[in-house]
Subunit: 194 residues, 2 copies
DNA sequence: GTTTTTGAACTGACCAGTCAGTCTTAAAAG
DNA sequence: CTTTTAAGACTGACTGGTCAGTTCAAAAAC
């Protein structure tokens, strides 16, 4: 990667970071492109040099963020027996949310919306992340570690949602508490699934 | 109540209903006052005759919606032994979400935002609803039905968040499934708390 | 010399909030 | 009962501001 590409990547990264923070706090519609440019310390023209539109920027942001999450999920369960895999997923999700708390907050706020132009993109990405969880749950069911009558799809999305809401709730309303507490109570909560 | 008051109440009710649906789908910022007026079949001026501002309308909406929820919570646990009270709360929450699904969706999307003008109002109302749950959980801890080391506040907000996210997820992504399924899996999930 | 960024000006659509005027209803006056 | 009065409820065109997106010449980085 040459210097030019690097510089551009850096600019895009800064724009992602600025956008994710602002949109997490205020929502997509309430966040202006001028705000994003200002926080990223970039000229407004640069935003439009790098992204086709505000919506396109947001969609790429979603793709990027959920892509990372899905990777983390896959890495976390790799080679693990079903017995340990669900706990590993929970831990990976929390780790991710701790690192990218704004993105998590944004996901929580935008994931269950309907009638937004980028909604289809989000549904697809959600499918991707939850699909990864579902594979693990299915392996658990097949191996007999999880009850045979468990609805895999439903369990996967419940796991995903519960982790998201509990972690974000804690980050927003009790930010001083250590993440370990969240992990403990969350693992407690889902123990009957894991 | 005379005809005037009745008419006005009716208008306000229609505005609430229109606003809650639109804001659930699109979010507060993306919903215009013209949209709300159009769906409620009143003129835009009527919105401002009945509410001081778009934000004031939203705040009253939140107060009204969460007020109902809190009432339901109180009614659900009245006279129940701690052993059964948590399950009753979960059931009441689900019942509420089924009846006011748009409001629930709206809550899920707006509850963990920061830096919005109505955020303080929402935090207060949240406190009210979760406080009701917390009382029940505390009674359970005191009576020995729940573990003594349980953090009451945290357990209460986790319960609230989990119910909300699981139910709304189901309503949005699997609307055809009967609510009884949600109840079963949710009660399964929180059995170690209840 | 090519790519990327800058910054400032501009456009046009959109939107919260206003207001002068109209319709409705209760109730007072005849 | 019928008419008048007046407050209450509603209307929709209008205003002033905001914001996504465009444009472009010049500069900076490579």
């Amino acid at each position: 990667m040459d210097g030019r590409t690097r510089r551009r990547e850096d600019t895009r990264q800064r724009l992602f970071e600025a956008a994710v923070e602002l949109i997490a706090e205020q929502g997509f519609s309430a966040t202006t492109v001028d705000d994003i440019a200002l926080r990223a310390k970039v000229a407004k023209g640069t935003v439009y040099y790098n992204f086709a539109s505000k919506t396109a920027l947001f969609e790429e942001l979603l793709r990027h963020g959920i892509g990372l999450l899905t990777e983390d999920f896959r890495a976390a369960v790799k080679g693990l027996p079903p017995r340990d895999a669900v706990a590993a997923l929970v831990r990976a999700q929390l780790e991710y949310i701790r690192r990218y708390r704004s993105f998590a907050q944004l996901l929580l706020s935008e994931m269950w919306r309907t009638n937004r132009e980028w909604q289809q993109t989000l549904v697809l990405l959600r499918e991707e992340a939850i699909g990864t969880i579902a594979e693990t749950v299915r392996a658990g069911v097949d191996s007999g570690d999880l009850p045979a009558d468990l609805d895999v799809r439903v369990a996967a999305s419940a796991l995903f949602g519960v982790g998201l809401v509990v972690a974000v709730d804690w980050l927003v309303f009790q930010p001083d508490r250590p993440i370990e507490d969240v992990e403990r109570s969350l693992l407690g909560l889902v123990r009957r699934v894991g």
